[in-house]
Amino acid sequence: MSRVRGTGESLKNFPLFGLVSVLVFAFLYIPLVFVVGYSFNVNRVVTVWKGFSLEWYADVLTNNDIQRALMNSLRVAVVSTILSVVLATGLAIGLLRMARAGRMFAWGLIMAPLIIPEIVFAIGTLALFVQVRFPLGVEAITLAHTAFCIPFALLPIRARLRGVDFAVYEAAADLGANEWTIFRRITLPLLMPGIVAGALLAFIISLDDFLVSYFLAGAGGTTLPVYIFGMIRNAITPGVNALSTLLLLVSIVIVTLSYVITSRKR
C-alpha cells in the first residue's frame, strides 16, 4: 500500500499536471454551465443577464413547431433504437460463427459509420434516397440513424456475449432444447443488460444527431436538433438555451443509466 502511495507522490511532482487537469475539466463543463445558466435569463438577449425566470421553458414547451419537432425526434429515436438493437443482437451472435474473412468484412461494415466523415455519410444517404426515389423525411432519417446506431448498440452486447460461459448452451442442448428455445430462454436473458445498455446509447446517439437529419429532413422531417439549428441561425434567445438544457438533461440521465447498468452487472 505504501509503495502505491509512493508512486502517486512522485508523479504528483509534475506540479502542473493536477492544475492542467482541473482546468481541462473546467474547459469541458463550463460551456455547458453557461448554456444551462442563461436558459433562466429574463432578457431576450441571451448573454445580458436581467434576472431569473422560467418563462422560456414555458415558451418553448408550448410552441407547436417545437412539439412537432420533438415528436419527430422521438419517433426516429425509438424506431431506430429498436431496429439497431435487433440487428446488432443478430450481428453479435452471427459474428461469433463467421469465418475469418467474413468476420473482417462484417466488422468493417459495422464500424464504417464511425470512421466515414459524417458529412460524407449524410450526403451519401441523401443521394441514395433521392436515387431510389425514397421520400425524404422521418422514415429516411430513421433508416440512416439505424445504420450509425448499430455500432453503439453492438459494443455492449458483444462485451456481454464474450463473458458468456458456453457450457450453459451445451447443457441446454443436452437437455433437448432447440435453437430457438435456447436463444429465447438462455441467450436473450444473458445478453439483456448489454442489450439495454446498447439501446440507451443508440437512443441518445439518434436523439442528438444533427447533420444526417438536417440533410434527410425534407419538408416534414424536422427533428429537434434541426429545429434548434434553425433557431441559432435566426435569432438566439434564451429559448434556445432552455431547449438545449432539456436535451442535455436527457442525454446525461440516459448515459448515466447505461453506465450504471453496464458496471453493475460485471
Binding site: G8, L87, G94, I115, F166
Partner: protein, 327 residues
C-alpha cells in the same frame, strides 16, 4: 475468458475434417452466422451503397436544375478541383477548393495537437489517482461526448460573442473598452473543434497510461533521473500507442467537421464539409460535392493506412497489441 476456450482445448488435437464440420454446424445452441445476415444486408444497403453512389456521382454530369445528376460520364467534377471556367469557357488554374481541403487538414492537425497537449497531463493525472476515483473521472470525461454536438458548439457561440461572458469580464475589469472580436474567427473554429473532440484524445492516452507500471518511473527517480527525463524517456514511450490512436481519432472527425466552422467560423473559415454541404444545397452541384467527398474519403483512408503501417512497424509486441485494440 478461460472457460469459453475450454471445450476446444480439452479435446486436444482434432482432425481437420472434424474441425471443419464443427465450424459449419456450430456448437450447440450458439446460433449461426445467419443471425448476422439481416444486419449485414441492412448495412450494405445503407452504408456501402451510399459510398458507391458518391463515387459514381463524382463521375457524372450536373443535372439541369442542380438536384441530382445526369447519367453521362465525365471527369469534369475533378477538373473543377483544379481549374475554374470563365463564362467564355476559358479554363484557368485555380486551386481554391484544394486550398479549402488543405486548410481543413491544417485545422484538424492543429486541433489534434492542441488536444494532445491538453490530454497528456490529464490522462497521466487520472491514471495516478486511486482506482475508484479513476472510473468516476473517466466517466466525467466521457459525458460531454454523449451530449449533442450542436449544443456543445452553440455553447461557444454564447461564450465568445461580443456580449458574452469573456468580453463582459474583460470590459468589467477595464482591460478593454471595445469588445474583443472572437466569434466568427479561425480562433473560434479551432476552440470549437478542440472542444468537440478532446475526449477522443484523453481516453486512448489514459488507456495506455493506465497499463503503465508507475513503479518504473519511481525506479528512474531513484536512479537520479530528473522529472523531465522520466517524462521524456520512460513515460512518453509507454503512452505512445495511445497518443497515435488519439491523433487519428481526433484528426479524422475534425476533418469532416461541419458545425464548428459553420456556427463559430462564420462565412470566413469554411472547411471542406461546409463546401460539400453547399454543393448539395444552394450551389446545386451534386457531382462536384461528390468529388469533394471522395477527396475527403481518400485522405481518411490514407490516414488509416498510415496508422496500419505504424502498427506493423511497432517493434514492441505490447505496443502493437495495444494499438490493435484501439481499432
Amino acid at each position: 475468458m478461460a472457460s469459453t476456450q475450454a471445450p476446444t482445448e480439452t479435446t486436444g488435437p482434432v482432425p481437420t475434417e472434424v474441425r471443419r464440420q464443427r465450424r459449419s454446424s456450430g456448437r450447440a445452441g450458439q446460433g449461426s452466422w445467419w443471425a448476422g445476415l439481416p444486419g449485414l444486408l441492412f448495412l450494405m444497403a445503407l452504408v456501402l451503397a451510399p459510398l458507391v453512389i458518391i463515387v459514381l456521382y463524382s463521375f457524372l454530369n450536373r443535372a439541369k436544375l442542380g438536384v441530382g445528376v445526369k447519367w453521362l460520364f465525365t471527369v469534369q467534377p475533378y477538373v473543377e478541383l483544379f481549374y475554374s471556367e470563365s463564362l467564355s469557357g476559358e479554363k484557368t488554374f485555380d486551386p481554391v477548393y484544394l486550398q479549402v481541403l488543405l486548410n481543413s487538414a491544417l485545422y484538424s492537425l492543429v486541433t489534434a495537437l492542441v488536444c494532445l497537449v491538453l490530454s497528456v497531463p490529464i490522462a497521466l493525472w487520472i491514471a495516478t489517482r486511486p482506482p475508484r476515483w479513476r472510473t468516476a473521472l473517466v466517466f466525467l470525461v466521457t459525458i460531454p461526448f454523449w451530449t449533442s454536438l450542436l449544443i456543445r458548439t452553440y455553447a461557444w457561440v454564447i461564450i465568445l460573442n461580443d456580449n458574452g461572458p469573456i468580453n463582459g469580464a474583460l470590459t468589467g475589469l477595464g482591460l478593454i473598452s471595445e469588445p474583443l472580436p472572437m466569434l466568427y474567427t479561425p480562433f473560434a473554429t479551432t476552440v470549437g473543434l478542440v472542444y468537440s473532440f478532446l475526449p477522443f484524445m484523453i481516453l486512448p492516452i489514459y488507456a495506455s497510461a493506465e497499463r503503465f507500471d508507475f513503479r518504473l518511473a519511481e525506479a528512474a527517480y531513484d536512479l537520479g533521473a530528473t522529472r523531465l527525463t522520466v517524462l521524456r524517456r520512460i513515460v512518453m514511450p509507454a503512452i505512445r500507442p495511445g497518443v497515435i490512436a488519439g491523433m487519428i481519432l481526433v484528426f479524422i472527425p475534425a476533418l469532416g467537421s461541419y458545425l464548428a466552422p459553420e456556427l463559430l467560423g462564420g462565412g470566413k473559415t469554411s472547411m471542406i464539409a461546409n463546401v460539400i454541404a453547399a454543393q448539395f444545397g444552394a450551389s446545386r452541384n451534386w457531382p462536384f460535392g461528390a468529388a469533394l467527398s471522395v477527396m475527403v474519403l481518400v485522405i481518411t483512408m490514407l490516414v488509416l493506412v498510415a496508422f496500419a503501417v505504424v502498427i506493423r512497424r511497432s517493434g514492441r509486441d505490447g505496443n502493437r497489441q495495444q494499438l490493435e485494440s484501439f481499432l
